[in-house]
Amino acid sequence: MSAPMTRRAFLRLLGIGIGGAACGRIANTLPDPLASSPAPTLVPLPASATPFLPAEEVPTQAPPTAVSYPDLVVARGPTPEQLVRQGLAALGGMPRFVHPGARVVIKPNICVAYHSYEYAATTNPWVVGELVRQCLAAGAAQVTVMDSPFGGSAEQAYAVSGIAAQVQAAGGEMHLMRSFKYVATDLPQGRDLHALEIYDDVLKADVLINVPIAKHHSLARLTLGMKNLMGVIRDRPLMHQAIGQRLADLASRVRPALTVVDAVRMLMAHGPSGGSLADVRQADTLILSTDVVAADSYAATLFGLQPDDLSYLRAGRDMGLGQSDLGAMRIEELTIGA
């Protein structure tokens, strides 16, 4: 047998390990250069240029001012992939958001491992797959897709939802969220919450694409784009107290460049996990916007609600995170295919 490790070598290794870990702890108390970079200016953001943080690079890459895009694109039709392609085209195309070399994180709703996408508890797999394809076509260096389910393991939820298969076919990567990667993050604009532990990959991504599925929720009334962002934080029970303001506080720090509300199949009751096809309504609709508040406001109307019926949309509008007045928006409606 080979010579066993000497005690000295072992202690040295142990010392390095513990020392490294200790350094890590210390480093963690130092200001993180990324986190401390000027977080979102408090100025209400114009819907057309909502950047995702960190914001430094965004101004230099803002779209040419000569072109103006609709605030909201609503695409209707039977083929989800086409809705994504043409909806994006109407919004200026994916290159408006994803620059060559960008690291993109896509956040669908994969909340449970219980049912296939037909049950409308999880985002439509083809919508997510097409978004991945569009990002890669725009030159993204890396596209990772992630969520942290509350029921069942993430691996299984990824598979059962059908999202893993579509993402992999499109060339993207499913990422299992790791518990050590949540970092304490200030919410400088937060009104009720001033700090949260947020997933590092989401904070560090160049582009965040938010792909919620439109569904019923007993407390928030509806799970839409702002509610979907809850999946990137560790302490979710915390949000349930004063959920409206707290979701808005989170959305003030985690800002998707693009929100795509999947209303291809909507879960009308017994959300968020569903389980009965009787609760599902096929609406074949996709809502795309750079403004999460605007996208959610429109989606609310699909349930017969007004934006002001949802506490988080009121809070988001009040904080200047986006607009909820559907009458004041430029909405482009597309009907695609048969």
Partner: protein
């Protein structure tokens, strides 16, 4: 030194070969243990070692009144014992190998002269186990080396290792240059080796101390556990007396005594002319390697090994038999207060399946449960059901999309249910503590239990009511109620209830007074 040494195989190769086999077997055991984590696996491979265990096969067949086909694998070990004695103990047993790895230097260990008679304990334990199995109790299977090791790893070593690795990862991830490396390493480790999120264990410390004690006894006498305690070793000892290949002493022996110093079970004794008891010999071949004159020989023969002074006599065997029967009867007549088992929530299908008499207490289900819901029972199942599986919903819930425990159970004590069937299997019923529930007691919206309920029609209903607060104002609150007919007792509501400490909704053992 004799020049003949050049002609025959250097005997040290025998012990080297044994080490290789031992480490490979331990690696295979650990690989099976790791595979038991839910994922694409063959459950037959994941519980291979438990199915090789003839003591488990015999006791479970006696107690469960049925033979599990997979346990036929144990015939291999029985055949091995009839051919080569306790070669299982010396070459294959993962606990035996761990004991060899954590062995003190031999020179420092004195044979426990006074303990010689205690070698019979392991034989008597076999009798006790089989006697109580006759009455349908497998409580003493906690002493089987494979259940002991698997349970200790599942409930203690692995969770501790996991926390250690996580602490290291969390620390190193904050070091700017190391972060990508930590991320990449973690991708290899989770969820293949460790769960994505660290899982809880109620008995990590206790089982850790237990395993450490079994190893620590090595410092009293090498392979103390295998010599005196191990009931699987006891069963194999009985078979080994019939073994074909045994160690004998050849005429070349000059009584140098080298073999007595290397024998791990100290069965080679000068006062017996350096012969050994096949029931104690683990076929480790250390004596062969140590012998300078080819005095130790392993040869085939059909003679039955002679009785030893420490072998139990008929009276002791009868006493153990009676003790086993009486022990079970006593345990059963000691009625526990019904409250003690109010929260005995068993894995899906196990409630209808009498775990006391079917469960080996191996802890494979604890290991495989992806949500950390299954734990060895401490008080929930009484003394007779000690370390049978219970769900502890506050620590983990039964995942609505999972059937892992039924797939892994080596003896079908937790039945292998199809997913649709499992979703309908009632393991408990949730009741709300309205005095503590946020909606009921504090008159504030919460709804977490309803939100989490996986049942399609929701076993928890929310009712919007106007309630009057202490200051006379009225508020509108959504109050949860459990629809008992829909609740399957998965416990996700109890797990996610945002109250600190005890949840305001708890899963109880199904109430037999009410129809399900």
């Amino acid at each position: 030194m004799e020049h003949e040494a050049g002609r025959r195989v250097d005997p040290r190769w025998y012990t080297r070969a044994r080490w290789v086999v031992q480490l490979l077997a331990l690696a295979a055991y650990l690989a099976a243990f790791i595979l038991a984590r839910r994922g694409p696996y063959l459950s037959a491979a994941a519980n291979l070692f438990l199915r090789l265990d003839p003591l488990a096969a015999l006791a479970q067949a006696l107690s469960g009144r049925e033979f599990v086909a997979g346990m036929l694998l144990s015939l291999l070990v029985i055949g091995l014992a009839l051919g080569l004695g306790r070669a299982w103990c010396g070459w294959l047993c993962p606990l035996g190998t761990i004991l060899d790895v954590f062995s003190p230097s031999r020179r420092r260990v004195r044979a426990l002269e006074a303990a010689e008679p205690w070698r019979r304990v392991k034989i008597l334990l076999v009798v006790l186990i089989l006697a109580s199995a006759l009455l349908g109790s497998l409580s003493l299977m906690v002493l089987d080396p494979l259940t002991l090791l698997t349970r200790s790893l599942a409930s203690s070593v692995w969770p501790a290792l996991d926390r250690f690795v996580l602490a290291l990862e969390t620390g190193l991830y904050r070091v700017p240059l190391l972060a990508p490396l930590v991320g990449r390493t973690d991708l290899l480790l989770r969820p293949a080796v460790f769960p994505a999120e660290p899982l809880p264990s109620r008995v990590a410390l206790g089982f850790g101390v237990l395993l450490a004690s079994v190893i620590g006894l090595n410092w009293l006498a090498e392979r103390f556990w295998c010599r005196y305690v191990c009931p699987l070793g006891g069963l194999l000892a009985l078979l080994s007396r019939l073994a074909i290949v045994k160690r004998t002493v050849a005429p070349g022996c000059n009584a140098c005594g080298a073999c007595t110093h290397v024998c791990p079970t100290a069965t080679i004794r000068a006062d017996r002319q350096f012969s050994s008891d096949p029931a104690e010999c683990t076929m480790c071949l250390e004596c062969l390697a140590a012998c300078l004159r080819q005095g130790a020989v392993f040869s085939a023969g059909t003679a039955i090994a002679p009785r030893m002074a420490y072998d139990p006599n008929r009276r002791e065997v009868l006493a153990a038999l009676g003790g086993g029967l009486a022990g079970v009867a006593l345990l059963r007549s000691q009625t526990r207060t019904p409250a003690a088992s109010a929260h005995r929530v068993q894995p899906p299908g196990a409630r209808e399946n009498n775990l006391i008499g079917k469960c080996l207490r191996c802890g494979e289900c604890t290991r495989t449960c992806p949500t950390g819901a299954i734990h060895p029972a401490i008080s929930e199942a009484g003394l007779e059901g000690l370390w049978t599986p219970v769900l502890v919903p506050r620590l983990g819930y039964c995942d609505y999309s999972c059937t892992a425990c039924g797939e892994i159970c080596p003896v079908g004590a937790i039945p292998p249910l199809a997913l649709e069937q499992k979703r309908l299997t009632v393991i408990g019923v949730a009741y709300i503590d309205k005095d503590r529930c946020i909606a009921w007691a504090d008159q504030r919206d919460c709804i977490v239990c309803e939100e989490m309920c996986p049942v399609a029609e929701k076993a928890i209903l929310l009712e919007r009511v106007e309630v009057t607060r202490h200051d006379g104002s009225t508020v509108s609150v959504q109050q949860p109620r459990v629809v008992r007919e829909r609740c399957i007792g998965c416990g996700i509501c109890e797990y996610k209830c945002p109250l600190s400490g005890e949840a305001a909704i708890r899963v109880w053992t199904p109430n037999i007074a009410l129809p399900l």
